[in-house]
């Protein structure tokens, strides 16, 4: 066990960072906001944490916290700026935002280290810290998926107009999605840079957006558990695919494409559906004929 841990420590740590990063895209999607800004905030968090650690020798928690604070503010301002955009346009605007963060990093001079980035961000972040932070984040998100908050989020995503008629302030929820996404992204970025000690502009490009999105698509976008499944798969899959030799990347591509096309709910969605239909069949078998009429007489008509 100890030996396994030692040989795989990088992958284990990457799984948690990947989880936080995937969550930073998943939370807005769950709120019905198609924003990829979490990845730009990952960059902000990574750079701020690195700068604070290298230049000012701040302790790790403060350096990451500073990154989260700045990213949170940026996320809120971004939410205000793009408040009138929706769907595809919002998605593309936030991808542009992510890429602008990369351009700023390239042109940041001594502060960001230019195209070669920053080196030597040494800090005492351990796997235990990662596990604790992830546990807290999962706990909070799991809470937000249940009860009154969960129902509100569901309403805001599925039918904003209906949500408004229920007295739910849709605009506030959207802003919250941006800020939560920014905090999660910045946290992931800050943790990763302090674990790996370096960050460069090429680390936060379009491919990172694709990776995080891939995790959610394959894992499932409805719950934190989907992001966890996705983060595990895409952190460990390359190792398992080594048997396939040089076609590893192609297999990876096929998996992503198949998931995107045929399993829109991700693996988690598949499992939930299976569980529900099992539950249904059990319920139908168990219940008498008393209250089943509405089920049997499924009206075909649509309202005028």
């Amino acid at each position: 066990m100890i030996a396994w841990y030692d040989t795989n420590i990088i992958l284990i740590q990457s799984t948690f960072v990947g989880l936080l990063m995937a969550l930073s895209l998943q939370v807005p999607i769950r709120f019905g906001v198609f924003s990829f800004a979490g990845i730009g905030c990952y960059g902000i968090g990574a750079y701020v944490a690195a700068i604070m650690t290298i230049r000012y020798e701040w302790p790790a928690a403060a350096a990451i916290g500073a990154g989260m604070l700045i990213a949170g503010v940026v996320g809120y301002l971004l939410a205000l700026t793009v408040r009138r955009l929706g769907g595809l346009y919002l998605g593309m605007a936030t991808i542009a935002f992510d890429l602008i963060v990369g351009v700023l990093a390239v042109n940041g001079g001594d502060l960001t280290g230019g195209p070669s980035g920053l080196f030597g961000a040494l800090a005492d972040v351990t796997t235990l810290h990662l596990v604790l932070i992830s546990a807290v984040v999962i706990g909070l998100l799991a809470y937000s998926e249940r009860g009154a908050i969960g129902r509100r989020v569901e309403a805001v995503r599925e039918d904003p107009e209906l949500a408004a008629s229920m007295g739910i302030d849709v605009r506030r929820h959207r802003q919250a999605a941006f800020v939560i996404s920014a905090l999660l992204g910045a946290c992931a970025g800050g943790l990763n840079v302090l674990l790996r000690t370096t960050i460069a502009p090429t680390d936060i490009g379009f491919s990172l957006v694709v990776l995080a999105l891939t995790m959610i698509i394959v894992g499932g976008s409805r719950s934190w558990a989907g992001a966890l499944i996705g983060a595990m798969i895409f952190t460990w899959l390359p190792g398992f695919l080594e048997f396939s030799g040089q076609w590893q990347k192609v297999i990876y591509g096929v998996i992503v494409a198949l998931a995107a096309i045929w399993v829109p709910g991700g693996l988690l969605g598949m499992m939930t559906d299976a569980y529900r239909s099992w539950q249904r069949s059990r319920r139908d078998a168990g219940s008498g004929d008393g209250d089943r009429t509405p089920l049997g007489s499924r009206a075909e008509g649509t309202p005028a």
């Binding site: 793009v82 346009y89 890429l99 602008i100 351009v103 042109n107 999105l213 192609v250 998931a259």
Partner: protein, 296 residues
């Protein structure tokens, strides 16, 4: 100065050739195809692999590139986008899934090309066509640049004329405005979507071959970069407007050339990203686009 203008013109023409197909599909069939960059790259890649075996002239490579692009584009439509649209519960969620599906599908050709080339640049060293350079008034122009500009303008204007005056062009525009009514009027949406995707893919393949000639070599990742730039050109001109995408492509190229010559060059990418952001925020219908008439 004049040299910069020539460079901007040929850069803009590449953007235009790439963006035309993307804009055509997006403005009519309503699909933002994120696999367009991979189709573009893969067409050039296949041409490169073939000409390494058989020494081919430029026209042959263009035909191969366009054919590969068209086939790939049709395959993506049949295997990815159609199943997604059939299953999507509404336009909004379908749009998102098509974007994600496009990103997913794009991973396959990219992976194949990266695998074969070892992620190294590839070109047409085996082709019989050699770029010749002219010098006029101290300005250097290559034959490939001239060809790129001519192709972009001819095809760009050709698409406008076709959309405006032909029956199939009218049918295509009608599904862009109101798919339901268009179907009622006897427009076969499925066939039209497929042929539009084929045309768009063919244009992407053509652009891939010409760009590879123009630059000497491209990398498998080139498609992603162009995708964002083309998106900026389409947004700038206005979704659904072909004249808009022509203007958008050249405006973007000129702006990038200015930034390139006036700064260290590291800010160039900020131009397209900045355009996307600014246009979406302040004039979301672009320079020439119609206001959104589609019901949401």
């Amino acid at each position: 100065m004049l040299q910069d203008l020539i460079n901007a013109l040929s850069l803009g023409s590449i953007y235009l050739l790439f963006a035309l197909g993307m804009s055509l599909v997006w403005g009519t069939v309503g699909i933002l195809n994120f696999a367009h960059g991979a189709i573009f790259m893969f067409a050039a890649f296949v041409s490169s692999v073939i000409t390494d075996q058989v020494r081919l002239p430029l026209p042959a490579l263009i035909v191969i590139g366009a054919a590969v692009g068209a086939l790939l584009s049709v395959a993506v439509q049949l295997l990815a986008f159609q199943p997604i649209m059939r299953r999507a519960k509404d336009h909004r969620s379908g749009e998102m899934q098509i974007l994600i599906g496009g990103i997913g599908v794009a991973a396959i050709p990219l992976a194949i090309a990266e695998e074969v080339t070892g992620s190294n640049p590839f070109g047409f060293a085996g082709s019989s066509y050699v770029t010749s350079t002219f010098s006029l008034l101290g300005v250097r122009v290559t034959s490939t640049q001239l060809m790129v500009v001519a192709a972009a303008l001819v095809i760009g204007i050709g698409v406008i004329v076709w959309l405006r005056f032909s029956r199939s062009g009218l049918a295509l525009r009608s599904i862009g405005v109101d798919p339901e009514t268009a179907s009622l009027m006897g427009v076969n949406r499925r066939v039209l979507s497929l042929s539009t995707m084929a045309v768009a893919g063919g244009l992407a393949g053509l652009a891939g071959v010409l760009l590879t000639y123009n630059l000497g070599a491209i990398t498998p990742e080139s498609g992603d970069v162009l995708l964002i730039k083309a998106f900026a050109a389409v947004i700038l001109g206005g979704v659904g407007s072909m004249a808009g995408v022509i203007v958008g492509a050249y405006v973007l190229a000129v702006a990038e050339t200015i930034v390139l010559t006036q700064t260290s060059g590291l800010w160039v990418d900020a131009v397209s990203f900045g355009f996307i952001f600014a246009v979406l925020l302040f004039k979301s219908e672009g320079l020439f686009g119609r206001r959104e008439v589609r019901r949401t």
